[in-house]
């Protein structure tokens, strides 16, 4: 078991996570779905270390990381808005995290070129993020997150702001890259296409709780309650 989230409770005043539990094996691709405001992103950001839980545990490869500083977790995050550093080139963005771990600049260059090739952005390395399309920016953000070989990759609606064709291409690229880097993924989405294309496990959230987990076909064919049935039927 690479990730174990156990009875996680987070109190953000106007919103609470109530006893979220989730497990992932190495290489799992878990997609979290649920209505807006159900707490999907809060789960990701708590695992990343941005929020401190009031109860519960997060273990990564058996190590308790619940209160570990963000930078010590080896967990990367990709946002819908990419959050690429605008003052750095694409190369510098991708190399940023790697430079912290690897002093040898030729290895850094080699690793950046490798991930850039996998994600089809080799021709963009000298460009600034604001000159790229949304799809290109998202590929850069994914490259930056993956190149550091995180134990866990968190993706918060990474394809939401993109057109259908770009989303399809990105799903294929992400699938390939994640497999190549042997990374476990937690992916939050509203798009059921992400579930069918990428997930081997799905978690459905409602009001700060996980109401059902299972393989995609289980969730869609055997919903546990009316809420899940309505939700997976109503998209």
């Amino acid at each position: 078991m690479i990730l174990e989230i156990e009875n996680l409770c987070v109190d953000l005043g106007e919103f609470k996570l109530n006893g979220v539990s989730l497990k992932a094996d190495r290489g799992d691709y878990i997609v979290i779905i649920g209505p807006t405001g159900s707490g999907k992103s809060i789960v990701l950001e708590t695992v990343a270390g941005f929020y401190k839980p009031i109860r519960g545990k997060i273990r990564l490869e058996g190590r308790d990381i619940t209160f570990l500083p963000i930078e010590k977790r080896n967990v990367s995050i990709v946002y819908q808005d990419r959050a690429l550093f605008p003052h750095m080139s694409v190369f510098e963005n991708i190399a940023y995290g790697l430079k912290k771990k690897e002093r040898n600049s030729s290895i850094v260059r080699e690793e950046v070129r490798k991930i850039a090739k996998i994600l089809g952005i080799s021709h963009l390395l000298h460009r600034k993020p604001d000159t790229l399309s949304g799809g290109e920016q998202q590929r850069v953000a994914i490259a930056r997150a993956l190149v550091v070989k995180p134990k866990l990759l968190l993706m918060d609606e990474p394809f939401s702001a993109l057109d259908v064709k770009t989303r399809e291409n990105l799903r294929k690229l992400v699938k390939k890259a994640v497999k190549k880097y042997d990374t476990t993924v937690l992916h939050v989405t509203h798009d059921f296409e992400d579930v069918f294309s990428l997930a081997n496990e799905v978690a459905v959230m409602k009001d700060g709780e996980i109401v059902q987990t299972g393989r995609p076909e289980e969730i869609f064919s055997r919903p546990l309650n009316d809420f899940v049935a309505d939700f997976v039927d109503g998209d």
């Binding site: 990343a48 500083p69 963000i70 930078e71 967990v75 995050i77 550093f85 995290g97 771990k101 997150a145």
Partner: protein
């Protein structure tokens, strides 16, 4: 201070923010009088004097007066600047292995550089033009605690209009140069 106000939430934040802004809205003469009393008659002033730090009617008084005049403006610009930088950049930087200070240095500072520079120019311009505070706290004595606005004031008092106008022109030229450099650097950033 501006960064802390923009990034962290803590009890009494709005009170501290108001205190920071107070010198901007406070009647200038009252504020200067407070400074004179603080560094002269209060236990703070007496303790500093016993420690060999004399502020009232000294050159150090000029620096203190200029800090109190310019700091609220600098803090307000820095607060707005840091608030406009999406905190997500720092969080992403930290998730990539960098500590809080490294993320601040590598990501936030470069993204805030326009605001940092603007605050430097405004602080410089405000300090250079500070008159009331410097006069009250440092005394405005000829060739001792004399800044450009005080030179202008003293020369008007002596009836030396030529020197007063010259001081005024130097002040205007310096202000113009500060804004010009700001425009140039901002355009190049």
């Amino acid at each position: 201070m501006g960064y802390a106000m923009a990034r962290f939430h803590f009890p009494g934040k709005s009170v501290i923010k108001s205190l920071m802004d107070l010198p901007i809205a406070f009647p200038e003469l009252v504020l200067r009088l407070c400074l004179l009393l603080l560094f002269g008659q209060t236990p703070v002033g007496k303790a500093m004097e016993e420690a060999g730090i004399r502020v009232v009617f000294t050159k150090l008084g000029i620096v203190v007066a200029q800090i109190f005049t310019a700091l609220p403006y600098a803090a307000r610009i820095l607060y707005s600047t840091f608030e406009s930088v999406n905190p997500r950049y720092e969080l992403v930087s930290r998730s990539l292995g960098y500590g809080e200070f490294e993320s601040f240095k590598n990501v936030t500072i470069p993204l805030a550089r326009n605001g940092l520079f603007a605050s430097t120019v405004i602080t410089f311009a405000r300090s250079m033009g500070a008159f009331g505070a410097v006069l009250i706290l440092a005394g405005g004595s000829y060739m001792n605690t004399e800044t450009l606005p005080i030179t202008l004031y003293l020369n008007i008092s002596y009836g030396n209009i030529g020197m007063a106008i010259t001081s005024g022109i130097v002040l205007v030229v310096l202000a113009f140069l500060a804004i010009l450099v700001f425009e140039k650097v901002e355009g190049g950033l």
